[in-house]
Amino acid sequence: MEVLSPYKEATEVIIEAGGEPLRLCYQCGICTGTCPWNLVRGFIVRRIIHEAQLGATDFGNEEVWLCATCRACVQRCPRGVEIIDVMRAMRRAVVSLGIGIVPDALRISAKNIAGAGNPLGEAPEKRGDWAKDLGLKKFSPGTEILYFPCCVPAYDPDVKVVSRATATILSELGVDFGILGSEERCCGEAIRKAGYEDTFHSLAQSNINAFSSNDVKTVVVSSPHCYHTFKNEYPELGGEFQVIHITQYLAQLIDQGRLKFSKEINKRVIYSDPCYLGRHNGIYDEPRRVLQSISGLELIEFPDPREDSLCCGGGGGRIWMETVKGERFSDIRVEQALEKGADIIAVACPYCFLNYRDSVLTMDKAEVIEVKDVSELVAEAM
């Protein structure tokens, strides 16, 4: 029989990489029971933490890369273990020490981000192309608001609708805003969770420099991932500015009476809480308020809404990695939406957008259900 002896050095590697919270775990297993992976395959989160406690971690195992950082487990953990930090620490150890294998897809995305400032490897100078025909102004000191679409809405041909809809709304309402175009870099949230700490720091520094040289005070973002890192991680690196998610901003505009709707959308819309807007940052009500303000629109809820919302599977760098058919959370989500009789899945995150759109297509449901960003719906109803 193979006998285990504790291997302190491995534990220390993880702790040094930021895995300190693992010491608190008392092995109750509520994380495993809460983790969405266990809806589709076994992923014993508790055991991973215990292995880390004893230095028995298998850095070569694909489990190191599974966590989608959705925070469902952390929210329930009775000891307050920041499980995401532990998962990230293991990835950091692999990335920085080369003690395991980084999945190919992730490695390529990471390389693109480090080189071109976006995961798709597109040319940095084309970052503002999505707005070419919209007549937007470049942000300059004195402009009130910076709109920061980030990578997917800036480059992805299908997701550009999100950034374009947002810019259209803001322009039509006469909001004083601008974009940074090629000066913008990926916010770095996801690549940091994937273990690439250095890449994150250089991206963050580059964005912070661009913001401060342009005297940016308020940033409106489309992605909850940008929101999260700008709000909770950039300040430690010297990035001091106000960040607002587009759904919050739209809700504000409605409250102020500036945003009014003239068209009806007579559809059943089901709203999917993004992990990084909901569980990570506690924003649940504003997106719903925006949708409810659109006349004709019937807002319905998933079986587990808000705090219990199921992840689309795209966080923590998973968006760049292949998830085999049968293991995609977004497929479950689309099925739930269909069962509830929804016509549209409303999203507020580019990763959710990508994953649900893929699921709808691969499940061959494009004719019965659509995926739309909240901003798209708003633009349509104006």
Binding site: C28, G29, T32, G33, T34, N38, G42, P78
Partner: protein
């Protein structure tokens, strides 16, 4: 003035101090300070030989001031004051420097610690220089005791004191005494019936010549201090003539108005006029004025109870005009035994309490298995069926920093008891979901083994959720309990008909009010704080106020009873001694400075200072039995006439200046 001669003693406390402070160097340093005539370091100053050092030096060096640098004064200041007194010195000519809790235990650099210790010793020396002898006065102790709370803790404490033939006032806010224990069906691990063992004690309380039971009453105000508390109790109107009611219950039978019964945990209804349970003490009915239609309609509607009461205990007069009474008591000590609340599990959304009918709390299940309870002792689902499978979830709201971080101590055991009762009453399978089994008491581990023999299933894992979303045929129509079986390292889904939540015990919702009423402190977890967690577990920082039972934290019945008896013993020993030492460090007035402005009188919470005319001059005078020595009056005194003995400006200022003195 006689020449000041100070003795300084620096304690090693084994290595507790000497390990991180160079005590010898500190003692040498102290010897160089003005007026210090002897300075020593010693391994354990609190030991007899340590105290003898002080006593001998007082004689040999004619010391008239003493400083000991050791642990916290809250620990040993009385010890060394006593040693001074035995050596022939007034105990107030002593000063204590706390170099253990405030230095050697909290900082690790020996060099820095030694310097800080020197500062603390120097400041104590400078301060003691200004100390004055104070007269120690005594006061008598009122031999009556107030016990607050009529659960098992209060009942036990009241009986112990009353059996010693001392008068007890037992105040209970509910219509009957009995507390949570009378709601329980059986008690672990012996399974004796809770009612059977508690009701004889309740009856004893009811007719004990030395107990005055004030049920359906609440303490409103407490003043005074140890030995002489004054207490105001509000005796709530029951809206009946208590002297006539025989507790026959006919009124309750005839009353047509109902609400869910709190005693039955909402599983049954009670009437607007009610006796909460059959064995209630006192055996009197109580009218719920918010529900009584006669009262609400101002006598225009209903009145069934009046018609049927043969004893004429209920009349229009009692229903409409009876009001609360305020009763004033004088007691020498107080025992607070106000118990706990059951944690409300509806705040944990994933366990479905309040959402699914057959998710119950522990106390609801207790009522269900009780023969006199709402189901007549049957374990039944909402639809009247018997369950085929029951899940018992441990640590609901306990051991979870999202709710309560502490372990509630009794849940493992009552969870096992439920498993046994389910096995006894039904054919259902039982699944205990636990994180750790904590079976520490007498016969507890054996009970755990017994349940293993009886066939309970044990799954180690904190439940992630209870859901009705079935994924297999077998799960349909059931509640599914989802957890990781952490011993298997696999996710497990257990279909169950009934789920029992072992909800935490938490501090009473109004614990803050009770705390300020009796000047108690609360821990971060909300429960009342004992004076010393190990060595003084029933006393509180307020002299003469004791605590017992679950108001101090979750505990089982044996521990509660032991603690209640301990609190009773404390109260009895106080009565037996018959006197207490009064605080000497209280306010005094320098009449040559006082201008009689009355600011002191205005600010004092205890009405101690009063401006009076003395030989035609207005001056403040302090009533020494009322003054507590808080010092608020001295702060507002504009002429510096008001002084707190032992905390005079020169004493504190010299200490402050010495602490920051640059060497």
């Amino acid at each position: 003035m006689e020449e000041v001669k100070i003795g300084v003693y620096v304690c090693h406390c084994g290595l507790n101090i000497a390990g991180t402070v160079d005590v010898e160097e500190v003692a040498k340093y102290a010897a160089t300070l003005p007026s210090v005539v002897v300075s020593r370091d010693y391994r354990y100053m609190c030991s007899d030989p340590g105290q003898d050092l002080i006593k001998n030096d007082i004689k040999e060096y004619v010391l008239n001031r003493v400083v000991v640098a050791s642990c916290s004064p809250r620990m040993h200041e009385p010890t060394f004051r006593n040693a001074c007194q035995e050596g022939g010195l007034n105990p107030y000519l002593y000063e204590h420097a706390n170099i253990r809790e405030h230095c050697s235990w909290v900082h690790d650099d020996k060099k820095i610690n030694t310097e800080k210790t020197k500062d603390l010793v120097r400041a104590a020396v400078k301060r003691v220089y200004h100390h004055e002898p104070l007269e120690v006065k005594e006061a008598p102790v009122n031999p009556n005791v107030l016990v607050v709370g009529g659960g098992i803790a209060g009942i036990q404490a009241a009986l112990d004191i009353a059996n010693g033939e001392k008068r007890v006032y037992l105040v209970e806010r509910e219509p009957s005494i009995g507390g949570h224990m009378i709601q329980l069906d059986r008690t672990f691990p012996t399974l004796d019936c809770s009612e059977c063992i508690l009701t004889p004690k309740m009856a004893d309380v009811g007719h004990h010549p030395f107990i005055e039971l004030l049920a359906y009453s609440e303490v409103e105000e407490v003043s005074g201090s140890i030995g002489q508390f004054k207490v105001k109790v509000r005796k709530k109107a029951r809206h009946i003539d208590e002297s006539k009611c025989v507790g026959c219950g006919i009124c309750e039978e005839k009353c047509p108005w109902k609400v869910p019964s709190a005693f039955e945990m909402g599983l049954a209804m009670r009437k607007a006029i009610y006796i909460p349970f059959a064995q209630a003490i006192p055996n009197l009915v109580t009218v719920d004025p918010d529900l009584c239609v006669y009262i609400q309609s101002n006598g225009k509607k209903c009145g069934a109870c009046i018609k049927f009461c043969e004893a004429k205990a209920i009349t229009p007069e009692t229903l409409l005009n009876q009001t609360d009474q305020i009763i004033e008591l004088e007691v020498g000590s107080i025992i607070v035994a106000t118990g706990y609340d059951q944690f409300d599990p509806s705040v944990i959304p994933q366990y479905g309490y309040g959402k699914y009918d057959n998710v119950l709390t522990g106390l609801q299940f207790e009522r269900m298995t009780c023969a006199a309870g709402p189901t007549g002792g049957k374990v039944l689902l909402k639809d009247g069926r018997e369950p085929e499978s029951v899940a018992i979830i441990h640590c609901v709201g306990s051991r979870d920093q999202n709710y309560h971080e502490y372990c509630s101590r009794v849940c493992c055991m009552y969870g096992l008891k439920y498993a046994h009762l389910i096995k006894e009453f039904t054919k259902a399978d039982v699944y205990e979901f636990y994180i750790d089994m904590r079976c520490f008491g007498e016969g507890y581990e054996e009970f755990y083994k017994r349940l293993s023999e009886e066939g309970a299933n044990f799954i180690r894992g904190k439940v992630a959720k209870v859901t009705d979303q079935a994924v297999t045929e077998e799960e349909k129509g059931k509640l599914i309990v989802v957890a990781e079986d952490t011993l298997l390292g696999r996710l497990i889904r257990v279909p169950a008909d009934m789920v029992i939540l072992c909800a935490a015990l938490e501090a009473r919702a109004d614990a803050d009010k009770v705390a300020s009423l009796f000047t108690l402190n609360r821990r971060a977890d909300g429960f009342f704080l004992e004076r010393h967690v190990k060595l003084d577990p029933v006393a509180t920082p307020t002299d003469g106020v004791f605590i017992a039972g679950c108001c101090e934290g979750p505990r089982d019945i044996p521990d509660t009873v032991a603690q209640a008896s301990a609190a009773a013993a404390k109260a009895l020993s106080l009565i037996s001694k018959g006197k207490i030492t009064l605080e000497s460090a209280i306010a005094s007035v320098d009449e040559t400075r006082c201008i009689g402005c009355g600011r002191c009188e205005e600010i004092c919470t205890f009405h101690a200072p009063k401006v009076i005319s003395k030989n035609g001059v207005m001056v403040s005078e302090v009533n020494e039995t009322l003054c507590k020595g808080c010092g608020a009056c001295a702060v507002v005194c504009s002429t510096g006439a008001m002084l707190i003995r032992h905390y005079k400006p020169e004493q504190i200022l010299s200490q402050v200046a010495a602490l920051t003195e640059v060497l």
